[in-house]
Symmetry: C3
Subunit: 445 residues, 3 copies
């Protein structure tokens, strides 16, 4: 979504529209009616946040299904639990500290203010905000949850539940809001001219950096990488669930990118939302098609998980600038995203970075790509500033996340024992098997 500065401009535009007829009424007996009254614009804007918000909330289910499908059956209950709990914690933390750290009183700086957020009162009538503040909070809150979901996929199958939840609370209550304030809170990067429409960097790369630091500090799953450099595939337990998760994420992305226009109370705003819907869809489509063709050419078979991650990489790639690109540019941007995933997965394995669901290629690398390429289609952005922003988010999140993961590691520990890992997290920490009757799988070890 755009920065608060841009928001204010929108709100002012709405107000000036509404002010005009009043002035006109002073001057003439035949006043011009505003095409869209400020009240109607307020309702439309709020509705956009609500629809966008529930679509992005639904992405929490998408991450849950994607990850449940891509882990082995002995860890599926745990992955389900982590996803519903991280979504809950993200919401609470974003209310307790997150929103105000991100959006209140940043003023070109590095951080907002501390304290829980207050909504409009019942029957609120503060027309001058241009939308309901609760709808805005709801929409921003589901974004932070997406960031946390990215992490859970990468560190799956070996991280302990409680340290993971503590990390989630810190990420969603502090790390994401602080770095988010730099751009969307009208902080220093926003003043410098950094451009990240709906969060290729601010949401996806941040999630990816947090995941990467976790994967490194946590180490790979036992048996994933042989001493001789061989990589052992650990096939996911359910491709249809992974597919379902991808479709859910794709659907949710219309809210993620579309509602980041932040307004639909004018015909030009709603027209832009429409362009964003079309571009978002087509970037994903290009990611799929490129991943399918590339895996066919490289491996003589088409890997369904690559097709799914190709869709997601296309979506992440277009998220930094889903409005400006022509359709040709959109297909290029999304298609490169798909290619990045196909090429990056084996590279990560070479470095023995064990990313269970492929979240680092999808969210971190495609997020960097999408942010970097913004100046191609958006004349207001510059490559230098984009690189500055990408580097700033990367350095802060990687270091800060790394410190948190490290402190958790040396205090309460972040990893289950080898024996527990072999048994599966469902048996060890949950006590409820995901599929108790489907017998020959990893959960029978």
């Amino acid at each position: 979504m755009k920065s608060i500065a841009a928001k204010c401009a929108t709100a002012l535009a709405v107000l000036s529209l509404s002010a005009l007829p009043v002035l006109a009424q002073d001057a003439t007996a035949a006043p011009e009616t505003p095409a869209v009254s400020p009240e109607v614009a307020y309702i439309f804007n709020t509705l956009l946040f609500l629809i966008g918000g529930f679509l992005v909330m639904w992405m929490a289910a998408g991450f849950a299904m994607l990850e449940a499908g891509l882990v082995r059956s002995k860890n599926v209950s745990m992955q389900c639990l982590k996803n519903i709990t991280l979504y809950s914690i993200a919401g609470i933390m974003f209310w307790v500290t997150g929103y105000n750290l991100m959006y209140t009183g940043v003023d070109g700086g590095f951080i907002g203010s501390l304290g829980p957020y207050s909504f409009d009162p019942v029957g609120g009538d503060a027309l001058d905000t241009g939308y309901s503040t609760a709808s805005d909070w709801f929409f921003q809150m589901v974004f932070v949850a997406a960031t946390a979901s990215i992490v859970s996929g990468t560190v799956a199958e070996r991280v302990k539940l409680w340290p993971f939840l503590i990390f989630t609370a810190i990420l969603t209550g502090f790390l994401y809001p602080i770095s988010g304030s730099w751009q969307w809170g009208a902080g220093w990067l926003s003043e410098m001219g950094f451009s990240d429409f709906a969060g290729s960097t601010i949401v996806h790369s941040v999630g990816g950096w947090a995941a990467l630091s976790g994967a490194i500090i946590l180490g790979a799953r036992k048996g994933k990488y042989g001493a001789d450099g061989t990589v052992h595939p650990f096939p996911g337990s359910s491709m249809p669930l992974a597919t379902l998760g991808t479709f859910i994420l794709w659907l949710g992305w219309f809210g993620f990118n579309g509602a980041s226009q932040l307004a639909m109370g004018s015909i030009s705003d709603v027209t832009d939302v429409s362009r964003i819907f079309a571009n978002t869809n087509m970037a994903a489509a290009a990611g799929v098609v490129v991943a399918v063709i590339m895996t066919q050419l490289l491996y003589k078979k088409v890997d369904v998980t690559m097709a799914l991650n190709g869709a997601l990489a296309g979506l992440v790639s277009i998220t930094a600038e889903p409005l400006a690109p022509s359709m040709w540019a959109t297909l290029f941007i999304g298609g490169v995203g798909g290619a990045i995933v196909v090429l990056a997965v084996p590279v990560l394995d070479k470095f023995k970075i064990d990313d269970v669901v492929g979240a680092i290629p999808v969210h971190l690398l495609a997020g960097i790509w999408g942010t970097l390429i913004v100046p191609l289609t958006n004349g207001d952005a510059s490559y230098g500033t984009q690189i500055t922003g990408i580097a700033a988010y990367g350095a802060f999140t990687f270091v800060a996340s790394g410190i948190v993961w490290y402190v958790l590691k040396v205090t309460i520990g972040i990893r289950v024992s080898d024996e527990e890992e072999a048994l599966g997290l469902d048996k060890v920490e949950i006590g409820v098997e995901a599929y108790p009757e489907f017998g020959t799988g990893s959960q029978r070890l």
Copy 2:
């Protein structure tokens, strides 16, 4: 949703807004334009019903997945069939008798009128209703389906298909509409000042009471309770499906509570809808967090099904008053809902009440809690009246449902034979296994 009385007030408010400028035009040559014309408000209100309606319709899929995940694999096809069929029957019955019994001509009394419902004609232009009557019907219809879905989970794995469907038809065509008329049809409880915004009692407790009477009359599944008081867990067949179902219900609840505002044609209405979205989300989040912490403390492991039911209990708890509570109050209300589930499940087992999916703690007990606590945040409600309402709905639904279940039992029978129960309902009544290739489960008995 609010009662018809409240609805009328809203409609009048809209009309008076629209009337004002006309009056103004009589008095002056520079008329004030209404901020939101009655036509625009009509469109917004109708759109709220349509969006809310499709979100609540989607909850039917949520119940289906939740229940499919929580029964054993030998009964999964049956649970799928029951859910899609009960949704269908609920719609037809609510058209044949339900809507008019609930909403037409109640006039402070105990019941509406008999007969099928008529929609607006094609190209309808009855502006004075404030919204399309078909959109209102659609929205109310999906609510009654939710009530029926609650029952199907509790009585799963041993109730026969056809008696269950007959019960569904009676519940959705008569029992729910009659008791619903007392409040939402502007009946006696509404006049007394009972407060149940979106149906903690009217929808959820009613479903829970019907489920409870069914569970008692039907008896527990064979082998669930040992003669010595031991309780044998029958683990659900798929945790990811149960998780998916919970996320679907959570998503649908934005429509359930949000659209129960019944209007978004003014900035104060849409602001209230936004508050409701935020509160609904956070009550669920609190339910999850409390359930996770409590199961960790009580059992040293975190039960994923408790986390899921904690979310649902939080949602049910906030449904009676999702607008007025501050965020602190919301977290308290939802969190207590989560605690209720964790504490009540073993109590039900002590009484040998076999509730397959935990619907009674979630919908009945959290529904009572949510209704009871309304006066804490809503000054217009009183504890006495809330208790009266809770008791009235409980007595009527428990007794009336019990009579229906009992008559079905002594006539056509409601329970499959022991042998059939062991085989599983899929083999006995459906003939289509849910997972014919996943071999070692209960369906191989």
Copy 3:
């Protein structure tokens, strides 16, 4: 959706509404304000396309889950891959050639013009179209994807991946748009008075005809039909996924039919959308109830897959005219759709036409039924013209699809070898099993 001609009428109506007050202002000092300004109507219309569009996009997930649930586990990954890839290809092809072939310059003829589509520019303000062109493109694009999804279910479990994708590209880039232009592009059938509101024929029958020609040319799965005429059932691998898919499709259909009203910027339009929501839901409900009762009477057991297909057949049946029917007529139309499915499935088997998911009864036969019965409730339609339209779409699509399938067959081949079919497509063409840990199924052959 209605034809472009009807669209233009709507746009003109909106414009005339907006023009009126201007005229009035010339005549009097107390101008009448338009109830809904053209700008507000534009926003509402665009929003309808966006909401309808994301709901129909979600149907792609519905088809994926339905088909993943109804094929054997050894082909599930392939079915997932095909569905996400066909959705991607459909979008790209509909942009490259489809939209303009279907909607631009048809002028009562048989085909539009060639070339990629251009959207509104950023910040578009072309009020006279009455809605954002990008939103319209998005909405039309998801329809073509639905057509392609229909085919993939029928030819599952034996068609090769790449020929299927090539067929998809031709169907979505050429065949569907050309025939679609005859009606929705204001072509010859539209001028003749053919009536197909949301595409019982134009979308569903067309998909069904393409599927039928594919099924015939491809032949049945090995072992499906014995030499002695026996039919061997190949049970689907997951009933809950098939149920989920059906619920997703049902939900998406509110967008499919509802947004085909093409406008909600007036109270009569939004009221019509509401009627369509109610009718769409109830036709599906009737389809379910009839299928459940009929399978009980015919087979003494209730087949859950018939109930699911009954819902879909009810939905397809009402799609040609979801607005005009009274509720009685709606239940009749949807109920007959359910009956068609129950009766047609064994007939197809008699002809040894192997339709894996039952798409031909659901989409082709119920599509014909729904189109044929339009004159019962819509006085503007005639049985003669309806039959002409049905025949024209059938002849063109069956022949053209057949040629494409045939050319693919004699060139690159469309069917895997017998050995590969026995192994399953997941092993042969994907290399990723759908359920690697659930051991005793078809994938262990």
